[in-house]
């Protein structure tokens, strides 16, 4: 918690991916919180192949490029950025829905630490009960041919965790928790409104009591009044069940409301990582400033004064040096060649811009 990038000794046991937690904790971390999730130098590259018969690789898209952060249990991390910045890919790679190119994702299963990047497929399946995902589009993410009961019970059936009356009871209990009625479970998704469907999606994700939930634009498709209900529900469930969220969104208002920490992503990299209040009150990176200035204020007396230029560069052909330099207002000659690394500017506040003051 004090220093999120502090190294800790990594002990190999059972190959490369597991460490008994008590051993990892041995003497060193007894006073400190231990992160539920530690992402280190995670990369996900997609190859681009040429057309035609040979399909030669002619380039790579660096969708996620060297991102690192820690996530404490019970906290919420927001991933924000424009479309195409890699926030969804990051979320999926962390859950190993996509195989990472390189990097480490240390996940605390409460009995041992696991590196999700190296663990073989077979050992991954039981871990899936611990990490779940809530999707953006409640219309596309529910199978129209399954009843609500089947949808919500499916994770338990697949992992063979409950059957018969117990299964039924857990489904009913979960539906109640997300604000649906037990008699809804015989209906099909088409009979529900957008907000109710998103509740079904939440019930499906939470029925196995996961510790980590990735919410990929979970409220973006909802109307304002329903969005508020779902945000409240997510927060209540977080308190009840002790959940840890990675909250991927492009709506800065929502992110500010729900997140403890925020990572701003641009072209596959984290350009600023800070506590929510620090980020909104004292943004350091020029891109963060640009994003914040672009949000229309719902007060007509506060005129919008966005300092904007350009669009997201082609991610398959990024400029060398700082990837933001083509849109940056304070760009200097050096920015075009020098790679920018994330460095610390304050307590839990990291920025990757060489021109920012307060480099420590």
């Amino acid at each position: 918690m004090k220093d999120r990038f502090k190294e800790f000794e990594w002990e190999d046991k059972e190959g490369m991916f597991e460490v008994a937690l008590d051993k990892a904790l041995d003497g060193k971390f007894k006073d400190e919180h231990f992160p539920l999730l530690r992402v280190k130098n995670l990369c996900k590259y997609f190859p681009i192949y040429s057309k035609g018969f040979l399909k030669k690789q002619i380039g790579t898209i660096k969708a996620v490029d060297d991102i690192s952060f820690d996530l404490m249990p019970g906290e919420t991390l927001g991933l924000v950025g424009e479309s195409g910045c890699g926030k969804t890919t990051a979320g999926r790679t962390i859950l190993r829905a996509l195989d990472p190119t390189s990097g480490e994702v240390h996940f605390d299963t409460f009995t041992k630490l696991v590196d999700l990047c190296k663990i073989p497929e077979k050992k991954l399946k039981p871990l899936r009960t611990k990490m779940q995902m809530i999707f953006q589009d409640p219309y596309a993410s529910l199978n129209p041919r399954m009843t609500v009961r089947q949808i919500v019970a499916e994770p338990l059936v697949i992992h063979n965790l409950a059957k018969g009356q117990e299964l039924e009871d857990r489904v009913v209990e979960m539906l109640r928790k997300v604000g649906l009625k037990p008699e809804h479970r015989t209906r099909y998704p088409h009979a529900f409104s957008g907000g109710q469907r998103q509740r079904i999606g939440i019930a499906r994700a939470l029925i196995m009591h996961p510790s980590l939930v990735v919410c990929d634009e979970a409220v973006s498709a909802l109307d304002v009044s329903v969005q508020a209900q779902v945000i409240n529900l997510l927060q209540d469930l977080q308190e009840d069940l002790g959940l840890t969220y990675i909250f991927i969104a492009h709506n800065l208002g929502v992110v500010k409301h729900i997140c403890d920490d925020i990572a701003v992503m641009y072209a596959g990299r984290i350009v600023e990582l800070a506590k929510t209040d620090d980020l909104f009150n004292d943004p350091r990176h020029p891109y963060t400033k640009m994003l914040l200035s672009a949000v229309p204020n719902p007060d007509p007396d506060v005129p919008m004064n966005p300092a904007l230029s350009g669009e997201v560069p082609d991610i398959s052909n990024l400029p060398p040096g700082c990837s933001f330099h083509s849109r940056c207002s304070i760009c200097k000659e050096g920015c075009k060649d020098e790679k920018q690394e994330l460095f610390k500017v304050g307590d839990g506040h990291y920025v990757s811009c060489n021109l920012v003051d307060g480099k420590k």
Binding site: Q196, S293, N297, P298, L308
Partner: protein
């Protein structure tokens, strides 16, 4: 077969007839209202479906001031898009405009009642795209994928103005430059898929404004865009509006966009306008409980971390509109015996220039309770 031949006839009419022969107008000239460009009165658009008659728009009235931005706000299904589509007569079967009037006052022509025109009246071809044009939400689906951007913009010019192909092309280039697209000479030969989302929306705006319309209907023009691009498009629309003097009807659910763009606001709920006023009084001192709830449920950038206020329940289906005030099952100020009986409350003037459709609006205003929810 008859359907088909009718379509072909229409097409020929669009291609040849509309630009040269200016059709005679539906209404006799009369004293025009001081400053309004469009007056909608008691508009009703119903959809006849198997489940019954859906009253998507049920008695909507508002007027648009010339050169101003009017915003229609509401959640999905409240009828804001249907209202805008009916202004252009784009409502398709089973939908039908069953009542009301939409009187359009063009700058230099006689006024016309759009609601009374038949579906293939020449006048509507003259108005649609020429006098009133529209920007759609999703620029990728609204643009044709098999025509170049240049051809699509030129089409509008060739239909509505006397121009040769060359002149039209020159005009298209000029318009693209105006909306901030660099290298427009090269861009007009490109297809929409070669452009980014923001660029496509700029093309849409160029296409809509190229005939210098009097009203621009913008149906969620920035919803599909990133905030940075959204801000750019909003600035662009504002600047163009100042330059060209176009009146804009902005359809949106984003109250931030409303605050920054609009002059007047009408809030819709279940096919009815529940509150209408200028932007400042709506956002600063809302009088209808629904508007108060909407504002309070915004996860605002200025608010502290706390539970969000939310409107309970969800929007009911149009097949089962509650009796009395349609908002009463979700309303905080619901009073049994008053709100849930009789006809829906009419829009009444609560303060000068500020109307709300709530029986208890005055009472709520006096008690000062509204300041609790709208204190952001």
């Amino acid at each position: 077969m008859t359907d088909n031949s009718k379509n072909i006839k229409d097409f020929v009419r669009i291609a040849e007839g509309a630009p040269s022969s200016r059709p005679s107008l539906a209404l006799a000239p009369r004293t025009r209202p001081s400053n309004n460009v469009l007056e909608i009165k008691d508009l009703k658009v119903y959809f006849n479906t198997i489940e019954g008659e859906l009253r998507a728009v049920d008695g909507v009235s508002f007027s648009m001031r010339r050169g101003k931005v009017m915003a229609l706000v509401g959640e999905s299904g409240c009828g804001k898009s249907v209202t805008s589509y009916s202004i252009l007569r784009l409502i398709q079967s089973p939908g039908k405009i069953v009542g009301g009037s939409m009187i359009f006052y063009p700058h230099d022509e006689d006024p016309a009642d759009i609601a009374k025109l038949s579906d293939n009246d020449e006048l509507i071809y003259h108005i649609r795209g020429g006098k009133i044009s529209m920007i759609f939400q999703e620029p990728m689906t609204a643009l044709s994928p098999v025509h170049t951007v240049g051809n699509q913009i030129c089409e509008a010019i060739l239909i509505h103005q006397k121009a040769t192909k060359k002149e039209a092309e020159a005009k298209a280039v000029e318009m693209l430059r105006k909306v901030g697209i660099s290298g427009p000479e090269k861009r007009i030969t490109q297809y929409p898929f070669e452009m980014s989302g923001g660029m496509r929306q700029r093309v849409m705006i160029a296409m809509a404004l190229v005939c210098n319309p009097e009203i621009l209907i913008a149906d969620e023009p920035t919803t599909a865009l990133d905030v940075t691009i959204q801000a750019q498009i909003m600035l662009l629309m504002k600047n163009l509006q100042k330059e060209l003097g176009t009146s804009i009807l902005l359809i949106t659910h984003d109250l931030g966009v409303v605050a920054q763009m609009a002059d007047d606001v009408a809030v819709m709920y279940l096919g009815k306008i529940v509150e209408c006023s200028d932007v400042r009084s709506i956002l600063k001192s809302p009088r209808h409980p629904y508007t108060m709830g909407l504002l309070a449920s915004l996860p605002g950038l200025a608010m502290d971390k706390q539970r969000l206020h939310s409107i309970k329940g969800s929007v009911p289906s149009l097949t089962a509109i509650p009796p009395g005030c349609p908002f009463h099952p979700r309303c905080e100020y619901f009073k049994p015996g008053l709100c849930d009986v009789g006809n829906p409350p009419p829009l009444e003037e609560i303060e000068p220039g500020h109307t709300a459709a709530c029986l208890r609006a005055r009472e709520i205003m006096k008690s000062g309770q509204q300041s609790v929810v709208s204190s952001q």
